[in-house]
Every structure is written in structure tokens, then in C-alpha cells.
Symmetry: C2
Subunit: 261 residues, 2 copies
């Protein structure tokens, strides 16, 4: 049967890509990718027919990948991070379904390291409790629904991961987000640009600082991932970030149950 | 400087572990792990000093790993899935901070494929929109807060990932969860046991079926991950799951902007 892979390449470069994702690329004759990601994976792409295009050409890339698979060429389409987290999985499946190609092409999707988890690993242990992941892009999602989700997440004390916080042309959802942050107590905020890449830059700050900097904050753009801690998130003695899970409320350092007072 | 790694091994076995995680294990003299995960990673552990223990001995394992690193042995502690998602990261950082060992030990944490994303990749593209990840374990989290988070997530139409839904002794949070599901329209539900392992079993059903089966549902236990779709999640023609991102509302199949009516 003809085969199409959706390959999640992880948070950047060759460090994060799983063995099964590498094998899928090896097994493919054609590789379809956003131009930047193809450059990062160059060692894996030698001898492959490569089709790349820029941002906002997602439908074009998916359509091309499906067409190549239909021609009988084993094909993979690369999605950075994880294909299910604001990546290519949904569009490939939606197009495959619209064309009803399920009898013709076997589709295999492989997961990857999403930017939220890559960022979390770099700053200590900011996530231990329940969390919500929200994209501030209102290109395909109603801006009111985004705002509702932000406010609900803050109200029930989720750790928050924010994707696509703003771009030059798209600032209103981020303005709404900052407005929502003014209505809760100060929390720790992590601002991560280009995580997993050579130009990676991560800073640990507070929601009050984000609010003070407002829309002019150049560290917040299309390649930025934000993590907002919950009400228990704190700095460690070495200025890293910790959201305690609560073990040490219940157990002592040797793992024994604490006596109740 | 002495070094301790927190290694996320991914969703199971050797397929999901990243190159950087493999390198960290290679660089370690001592490997500390839950017994089951050590067996799965056996090809990587030859020649290492291995310390394993069973479930609920997390503090013991962390304490031992830190002690080995203090002795100058490069050590890694294995966390299945991703160490930040109900894994070992928070406890290691909390213990390191309580003992203020930051000058003595360099701690390096590496991310992995969490079960939610591994499961999502197996059933189509169930996640394309904002989502919330909630553990139903009330061992360390207030049961009322868990319930509040479930209800808030359903009210703002998050896709939901549920970890640790129930165990033999712990059923009340799952009962509360089913009660919350009765108050929203029927949604698609994915029930995944042991994802990424040889005994993997995934079924696609509905929230009404979960409610009907109630607490006696044997497919829901400690090794189960649930995904609840949002209000737009639907089945594809091949009975997989799709949460459309909305591209095809705005663009036609060739990627051109649709004309406004």
C-alpha cells in the first residue's frame, strides 16, 4: 500500500528527533518540509527528493505530499515540534478525508517533542500540575473563544503554555491576554524564543513584567513560547523555576509519610 | 562539576527516546529507574550500575540518584513519557532545592514524548485546537480543584487529556469526571492503555459510552490515557479521529482564500 508519514521532528535540529521519526524519513523517497526545518535536518535528507516552501503555504505542502504518495512514492511531511500541537497533522488528515484516500494511502503519524515541554525542561521543573496549552493566533480561531480559554485557565490555576503569542500584524489577542493577567496575582513567566535552536533565548520573569512591557515587548513574537506558572510556582535557590507537586507536604525527605500534627 | 540528568524516555521502549536522552544515558555511570522502564531500555543500560524500585518509591529513587551524583558518579534518573508531565522533574528539583545542592551538582533535564501526544498520533489528528491536561490522581491534589478544572475545560471547549483516571482504590475523581461529562453534549473519547508498548490497546468511543460503563470500566485504570475531543471533533471516513483546525473553512483545497459569500 502507498504510504505517507507525518513526521514530528521535535523542538529543533537533530537532538530531539525520535528513532521512529528518523526511520520514517529514511524510508521515504520524498520529503516535504517548511524550508527552515529541512535545513536543520539536512543530515537525514541526503538523496531524498526534497520539496520545501515557506510559512503560510501549509495547504500547498500537504497537497503536494499527498499527491506524491498517490503517485506511489513513499513520502513524509515534516512538522516541527509535535504534529498535533498546532502542527501539520490536522490539515493532512482533513485533506485525506476530503479526498477519501484512506483505501489508497496508509497514513502513519509520529509524535514529537513540543516546544512547551522542550522549554519546560530548560528552566527547572515549571510543570508538575495540570496545564492548558493555548495558541493566541486568531487566524482560524475566534478571538473571544481564545480569551474565554485564557480566563478559565487562570481561574482554575492551570500552568499555561502560550503558542504564537503575537506577530507584527496580530497583536489584539496578546493585548487581551495581558489584560487577563492583570486580574490575577503576580505569577512567574518564562519567555522562550527559538527553543532547541542555536539562537535560543530564554528568560525567567513575571507576569507583572510582561504587563509593564505591553505590546512593544520584542521578546514576544511568532517564535516565542510562553509558560505562565500557577499560584504555587516559585523560584529555586539557583533562580530556576519549580512548581512543586506536593510530595514534600505529605512525605519527609526520606520518603516516609509525615506524622499528622 | 558533578552531573545529574533527568531523562525523559518517551512513551515506551526504544522508539520514542530522543538522541539527546540516549546520549545522557550513555554518559551516565549510574542509572536510576522504575523497574519496568529499565527493562524496556535494556539495550542502553549494559555496563551501567542500575538502581531500580517499584511504584510509589519515587522519593527513594530521587534521593538515591542525588546521593550518587553527590558521590561524583554521573547519574541519570529515568522518567517515562515527559519528566514534566506528572513525571520525576518536579521531585528531583524540589529535593535538590531543599538540600541546596545547586553549587555542587549540575542538573540537566531532557524532555520526552508524553502519552497524550503518543496517543494522539495513533488515532488520526484528534488535537489541533487548544487543550488541557489533567491528572485525576487526588493523592497530592485537592479533589475539588481537579473537578473545577474538568468543568472549566469542558465549558471552554478544550480538547482534554486525562492522566491516571482511576485505580482500584481511587475511583471518586473518575466518578466526578463522568458526572461532569453528563453535563455537556456527547463527544468523541479515546481510551488508550499502555501506549507505545507491546500490550498497547486503543479504542475510539464516545463520552456517552464512558458514562454508561461507569466505574466498572476495566479499560480505564492506572495505565490508561483518555482523550476527550472538543465540540468539533469528528470521525473520519476510516473511523479515525479529526479535530479540524479550520483551514478548510477559510481556504479551498488548493490553498486559495475562499470568496466571501
Amino acid at each position: 500500500m502507498k504510504r505517507l508519514y507525518i513526521v514530528s521532528s521535535g523542538a529543533g535540529g537533530m537532538d530531539y528527533i525520535t528513532p521512529q521519526a528518523q526511520h520514517a524519513i529514511e524510508a521515504s523517497e520524498v520529503v516535504v518540509s517548511y524550508t527552515k526545518y529541512a535545513k536543520e535536518l539536512a543530515p537525514l535528507l541526503e538523496g531524498k527528493t526534497l520539496y520545501t516552501s515557506g510559512m503560510t503555504h501549509e495547504i500547498e505542502r500537504c497537497t503536494h505530499a499527498i499527491a506524491c504518495a498517490c503517485e506511489g512514492k513513499t513520502t513524509c511531511i515534516i512538522s516541527n515540534g509535535d504534529a498535533n500541537v498546532f502542527g501539520m497533522a490536522t490539515l493532512v488528515v482533513e485533506l485525506m478525508d476530503a479526498k477519501n484516500l484512506w483505501e489508497e494511502i496508509e497514513l502513519i503519524s509520529l509524535p514529537g517533542i513540543t516546544a512547551f515541554l522542550a522549554t519546560a525542561s530548560k528552566v527547572g521543573a515549571p510543570v508538575s500540575q495540570d496545564f492548558a496549552i493555548i495558541s493566541l493566533s486568531d487566524r482560524l480561531t475566534d478571538i473571544g473563544l481564545i480569551d474565554k480559554r485564557i480566563r478559565a485557565s487562570l481561574a482554575c490555576d492551570f500552568v499555561l503554555g502560550i503558542y504564537n503569542p503575537k506577530s507584527k500584524k496580530r497583536t489584539q489577542p496578546y493585548a487581551n491576554f495581558l489584560e487577563a493577567l492583570t486580574e490575577v496575582d503576580k505569577r512567574i513567566a518564562i519567555v522562550a524564543q527559538n527553543v532547541g535552536r542555536s539562537e535560543e533565548c530564554i528568560s525567567i520573569t513575571t507576569t507583572h513584567d510582561l504587563i509593564a512591557q505591553g505590546l512593544r515587548n520584542d521578546a514576544v513574537g511568532m517564535n516565542t513560547l510562553l509558560i505562565i506558572g500557577n499560584s504555587t510556582t516559585r523560584l529555586t535557590h539557583n533562580a530556576h523555576v519549580l512548581t512543586p507537586r506536593g510530595y514534600l507536604n505529605k512525605y519527609d525527605l526520606s520518603g516516609e509519610h509525615k506524622q499528622k500534627a
